[in-house]
């Protein structure tokens, strides 16, 4: 991973908690910022099944449950873990610096099944 040059700020560490993910924006797309223990993760906010916003969802361990139909994804890998979701979420590499949560926009990728 290259240094901070490519990383852009999404939010402050204090904007996110375990229960309450934060909705950030990247070039007009909504992203979801999650905290699991001391680590932070970023996925696309829009569920791959329908219109559910994952930031509004229910965090259960390292899974996010969509508020719409309770499909689930692994927050770390983006992979679907419960029906009706069958397609993985896009995820980004995260860096935390000076209490800022940052991602490398170019690192966005979808895990292969």
């Amino acid at each position: 991973m290259s240094e901070a040059a490519n990383f852009i700020k999404l939010c402050a560490v204090g904007d996110v908690s375990q229960d309450l993910p934060f909705r950030a924006q990247l070039e007009g797309t909504d992203l979801a910022v999650f905290q699991i223990d001391d680590a932070y993760y970023v996925t696309q906010d829009l569920c791959t099944h329908g219109p559910g916003s994952l930031c509004e969802g229910y965090v259960d361990g390292d899974e996010i449950e969509c508020p719409f139909h309770q499909g689930k994804f692994n927050i770390i890998t983006g992979k679907p873990t419960a029906a009706p979701c069958t397609e993985a979420l896009k995820i980004w590499n995260v860096m935390v610096k000076d209490n800022k949560i940052m991602i490398d926009p170019a690192s966005g990728h979808v895990a292969t099944p």
């Binding site: 229960d19 329908g50 509004e56 969802g57 229910y58 009706p84």
Partner: protein
């Protein structure tokens, strides 16, 4: 979740499935989830999926929601992409009806006369709409919403300025009413009961939906029966029992569904509205299972049989039963708390559990706003939770209900105490005690 238990009858069905294959009747949501799960579990036997609709399995909820709001774009939630079935060696037969189940021969007869053998049979035939039995009403002048074809036909008719009458203020009727009024139609809803959603939710929630629809211009006729339809050229005039004449270009009927249980009944399997099955989805015949809208199933959480017409039940019951059919680890009973949702205008309703008329109702938040929750308690234990635009705060209620937690109504009503916090505390206390 309960521990898997080994049940001998299921072992026999498992072996038979491997040897002679699984046949699934009905390619709806439950049928689709069943075959998908069999393959996901590594089941290597033959799978035949037989459905009388022309399309591969899809989810129905959008048919009365997103699909009706526009005409230039289709929102179809396929259970799996159409190419999935062939790619996974599933013999999918669309446009094909099963005419009979021959239990003695372990086979089904198709409408054309062909016979297909099964080792294990899963009946996922769902339900069909109940038709109006009324002078003047016909399939030409009444729209029902169950299939993609129904929804496609109806949405073409919801043109701005036209008049729409909705018969029945249940969830599907109200969702259609919301779509029609949003598209600029003049909408009247005729309901035999005294308020919307009367059979499934407490009065406070019904009243909320009445006000919501009224604020968008929907006109309600409650406690109103129907006398007949009169056809005047392109217009239907709906005559009510009290003599009102309500003209409409389009009539939408949503008065409930009838489980497609006749195949099972004709094969001598016990039916009580739906096909009677145990918590493993098994009928009286150990090689035949039923799932989804057609299954009158035993739910251990309620200690009785229930029939659900819901998306969650179709999906999760099918998944559980298909897993049991393939898993060597033993069988897990299907014991889920019912969950349901509805989208009308900008309000998303979600409901956990089944409402009961005599339970205590506690309101969290303000029903005059777009976001609030109603809890139902019995002997201080939560049995049902209904949230309007409150998905996250509502979600802990699911666990609080299944845990049987004893709760204080003042705390539940206090929006400054997050529901997640109440759940965490209850879990902690249990961990200490346990």
């Amino acid at each position: 979740m309960s521990q898997p238990v080994s049940t001998l009858p299921l072992c026999e069905a498992r072996v038979a499935a491997l040897v002679a294959g699984v046949v699934v009747i009905g390619a709806g949501q439950a049928g689709g989830r069943a075959v998908e799960t069999l393959r996901a579990q590594g089941f290597s036997g033959a799978i035949t999926l037989i459905g009388d609709e022309p399309d591969p399995p899809y989810e129905r909820p959008s048919l009365s929601k997103e699909m009706l709001h526009v005409t230039d774009q289709e929102t179809i939630a396929w259970v799996q992409k159409p190419e999935f079935y062939a790619a996974n060696k599933i013999d999918f037969r669309p446009g094909t009806r099963v005419a009979a189940i021959n239990r003695g021969q372990h086979s089904v007869t198709l409408e054309g006369g062909d016979e297909i053998k099964y080792g294990a049979l899963i009946i996922a035939t769902g339900a069909r709409v109940r038709h109006l039995n009324l002078p003047g009403a016909s399939l030409q002048n009444s729209h029902y919403i169950r299939t993609l074809a129904d929804s496609r036909a109806l949405r073409q008719r919801l043109v701005a300025g036209s008049r729409v009458v909705v018969i029945g203020a249940g969830f599907i009727g109200l969702e259609a009413a919301a779509a029609a009024v949003t598209r600029g139609c003049a909408v009247s809803v005729i309901e035999i009961g005294s308020q919307p959603l009367g059979r499934v939710v407490p009065a406070q929630v019904g009243a909320y939906y009445e006000a919501l629809h009224a604020s968008h211009g929907v006109k309600f006729y409650f406690n109103t029966s129907l006398a007949r339809f009169h056809q005047r050229d392109e217009t239907v005039i709906v005559e009510t029992g009290t003599g009102d004449m309500i003209p409409a270009e389009t009539v939408i009927v949503g008065i409930g569904v009838i489980p497609n249980a006749e195949l099972a009944g004709n094969a001598g399997l016990p039916v009580e509205r739906g096909i009677i099955v145990d918590e493993y989805g098994c009928t009286a015949d150990k090689f035949i299972f039923a799932v989804g809208d057609v299954a009158y199933h035993f739910n251990p959480l309620f200690d009785r049989h229930i029939l659900l017409e819901s998306w969650q039940n179709a999906q999760n019951q099918a998944i559980t039963i298909a897993k049991n059919l393939t898993s060597l680890a033993g069988a897990v009973p299907y014991a889920e708390l019912p969950w349901f949702w509805s989208d009308q205008y900008d309000v998303n309703l979600q409901m956990f559990g089944l409402a009961e008329p005599e339970a205590d109702c506690i309101i969290r938040g303000n029903p005059k706003t777009k976001s609030w929750i109603l809890f139902q308690l019995k002997s201080n234990r939560m049995i049902c939770a209904i949230g309007m635009n409150a998905a996250r705060d509502l979600r802990p209620a699911r666990d609080l209900i299944t845990m049987g937690a004893v709760l204080k109504s003042e705390e539940l009503a206090d929006i400054s105490v997050p529901m997640a916090e109440i759940l965490r505390r209850e879990k902690r206390e249990r961990a200490l005690v346990g």
